[in-house]
Amino acid sequence: MNQNILTAEDDLQIQSFIDYALKHEGYSCITASNGEEAIRKAREENTAIMILDLGLPDMDGKEVIRTVRLESQMPIIVVSARDRESEKIAALDAGADDYLTKPFSATELMARIRVAERHLKNQIRQEDSGGSEVRELRIDLNKRLVYLAEKELHVTPMEYQLLEYFFQNIGKVLTTKSIIEVLWGKGYGSDTQALRSLMAGLRRKIEKNPAKPEYIITEIGVGYRLLDQ
């Protein structure tokens, strides 16, 4: 299928590299070089996915995301420098789905696009079945059970809740803040110790080596992500 992908990027070389990579994989490209143009094109063109550089000259990336989110649930992938964690978190909390760190490779870019596409499909299909799986790891949302390689895994209620949240957002970066809000509520604050400890416990159950995770990976300074493949 020939999805329209909007790239909002003011650097020409990066723009052309992204364009090329996308076209090579058979997508149609729409480009914008500032925030205003990005918002307009997101609205007018039939845009499926948006790639948004957070360093656009005319407006704050968060503003672009919020404005687009008012009308559309299209996946938004933001592009940002590595040492700008707070910028990424703010963008994710404003409604972005994923992020790419500069410099990134075409492989990384396409991996993110594929995740976004799957999201699109899931949005269309809604959650039809009562379960979901990622490779060997499977969750049964009706029975509230977790399986690893077809064997039932004993998880605590908190661990189950955590996994459930990840399975609802496969491939997506979940910020530490949003996970804490889901698990402990909004009033809990920003203390990450309990989450880190919970995550360590869960990893010891689902990962072969918790320091080389295959399912839930850490995005340092930002949050976690359940890898879908």
Partner: protein, 521 residues
């Protein structure tokens, strides 16, 4: 300057002068006594005149012993010349014995008291003038604009107050005596000149090893000027000019030397302060510039890395593929350089407060491996981790950078089919986490080992491509680990060929206790 610094203490007359004065007073008193006697006054008046004489003698000679001697002398003179029978030492009226004894005792007490009062007055006067001298010195020193002026004031004041030839010799910031020093000869010439420092090395050693309040040579007594951070110099006084056994004098010298030391110390401190403030401003400017440049490099770098990757996919010619790979790896190298520089500027900026948070090292290792795999997918890095879970305060991004740099370093020196592994240990006794990155590469040469963490050191071997960038990467590792209060070491492995880098992360006062989890299977 020398106008109001000077000796104010009246001095004892010499022995000969004292004797003449005493004899004069004694003769005068005897003459007055004789007149009284002729005029028929009672003998008691003669006694009073003699007592007055004793008082005057002690007062003018400032010598107790003279008082003592003349007490006895006057008693006998009175006995011989004035008491009946005259011109003998024998006495008719036994009442005279009482007169003699009373006279002697009174004379003695008079001389004792007078001399004591005098001594105290003398002492007080001396103390006062010393205090004035030190105050003067301190005041002048406060106005001094530089070290030269301090030295000048010091030699003038000390020279004038003590009437000595004196020099002021500085040691430089590294503790070495300067080549020349200011020296001022004593009265009457009072010539100021610069003298050459003889045997500087020996002088330094002697002063540093000094266990007594001063050092002595054939020519001088050297009094060290001690500052907060070591010896600032010496005040040297010509040996022949002072009596070093005089305690009061020594005390005075020490007070003056201390004042000078304080002034020099303050001056150096201020100079250092200004210097380091300038350095900080310069350093910050440099860091900002570096950061801005690095940020800007990242954008075209993204284009280069991305485009070269696409180019690589389109190439069929093996030579073109090789060339494109080279572009890619150079761009990758540049990228890691940029990341390192950015992190370095970050540490320097936040030197005082790292953004430390309780972190799980396993997460950071996982992320670091993921990133290394991004540019070196042919390497598989093993991790051995303790089962227990521990939160350790650290700046996650910086520790990730350390791990990436150590792994990149290992990769540079290890072929892909050999093992690279990360070992983590919790040392609950020392309250720290110990992390080792081991490779099976060629190891580190003995000559590189001591310098391996030095900034911008790249091994001297003629393999520029391999060595490139290693210097900065490892130097940054050291900076980051030290900023965390940990240690970092490089060594060759004992068990097999290869290098091992070990660093520690203390969790010292923090209260995160290890947790154990069941595996749930």
């Amino acid at each position: 300057m020398s106008d109001n610094i000077g000796p104010a203490v009246s001095r004892k007359p010499g022995r000969f002068t004292a004797l003449l004065i005493s004899l004069g007073i004694f003769a005068g008193a005897s003459f007055v006594g004789y007149l009284f006697h002729i005029m028929g006054f009672p003998d008691t008046n003669v006694v009073v005149v003699y007592l007055l004489a004793i008082l005057l003698i002690v007062w003018s000679t400032k010598r107790f012993l003279y008082g003592l001697f003349f007490s006895v002398a006057t008693t006998f003179t009175f006995n011989y010349f004035f008491s009946e029978p005259r011109f003998t030492l024998s006495v008719n009226d036994p009442n005279y014995y009482i007169t003699f004894v009373t006279m002697l005792v009174t004379a003695l007490i008079t001389s004792i008291l007078t001399s004591r009062i005098q001594r105290e007055a003398h002492h007080a006067q001396k103390k006062e003038s010393e205090i004035r001298a030190i105050n003067n010195l301190t005041n002048h020193l406060t106005d001094a604009r530089d070290a030269e002026e301090i030295a000048d004031i010091a030699v003038r004041s000390i020279g004038d107050v003590l009437e000595v030839s004196v020099g002021c010799l500085y040691f430089d910031e590294t503790g070495n005596p300067e080549n020349t020093y200011i020296f001022r000869t004593k009265r009457p010439e009072q010539r100021e000149l610069r003298r050459r420092t003889e045997k500087a090395e020996e002088l330094r050693w002697r002063i540093n090893e000094l266990r007594t309040p001063y050092d002595e040579t054939d020519e001088f007594y050297d009094f060290p000027l001690y500052g907060k951070d070591g010896t600032l110099g010496i005040i040297r006084i010509a040996r022949e000019d002072i009596d070093i056994e005089d305690r009061d004098l020594q005390e005075l010298i020490h007070s003056m030397v201390d004042s000078v030391a304080m002034a020099v110390d303050r001056f150096r401190f201020i100079r250092q302060e200004i210097h380091s403030r300038e350095e900080i401003v310069k350093e910050r400017y440099r860091a900002n510039l570096l950061r801005a440049i690095s940020h800007d490099i990242r954008t075209p770098l993204t284009g280069i890395i991305g485009t070269s990757e696409i180019l690589l996919g389109k190439q069929k010619d093996p030579e073109a593929i090789d060339l494109t790979r080279r572009i890619q790896s150079d761009a990758q190298w540049l990228h890691s350089m940029v990341e390192n520089i950015l992190n370095l500027t970050r540490i320097q900026d936040e030197e005082l407060e790292l953004k430390k948070q309780p972190e799980a090292l396993e997460e950071i290792i996982g992320s670091a491996i993921e990133r290394v795999r991004g540019h070196a997918p042919q390497y598989d890095i093993d991790v051995e981790f303790p089962e227990e879970f521990l939160l350790v305060p650290m700046d996650a991004k910086l520790i990730e950078q350390v791990l990436i740099n150590l792994m990149d370093n290992a990769i540079k020196h290890t072929p892909p089919d050999r093992q690279i592994r990360i070992l983590v240990e919790n040392d609950s006794k020392a309250r720290l986490q110990r992390i080792r990155v081991q490779d099976e590469g060629d190891g580190i040469s003995e000559e590189d080992l001591p310098y391996i963490f030095e900034k911008f050191y790249t091994s001297g071997s003629n393999k520029p491509y391999f060595a490139r960038g290693v210097g900065l990467g490892l130097a940054i590792c050291e900076t980051i680990i030290h900023a965390h209060g940990g240690t970092i070491h490089a060594r060759n492995r004992a068990d097999k060929q290869g290098a091992e880098f070990e660093f520690t992360l203390p969790y010292g006062g923090e209260t995160y206790e290890p947790e154990h989890f069941d595996r749930g299977r």
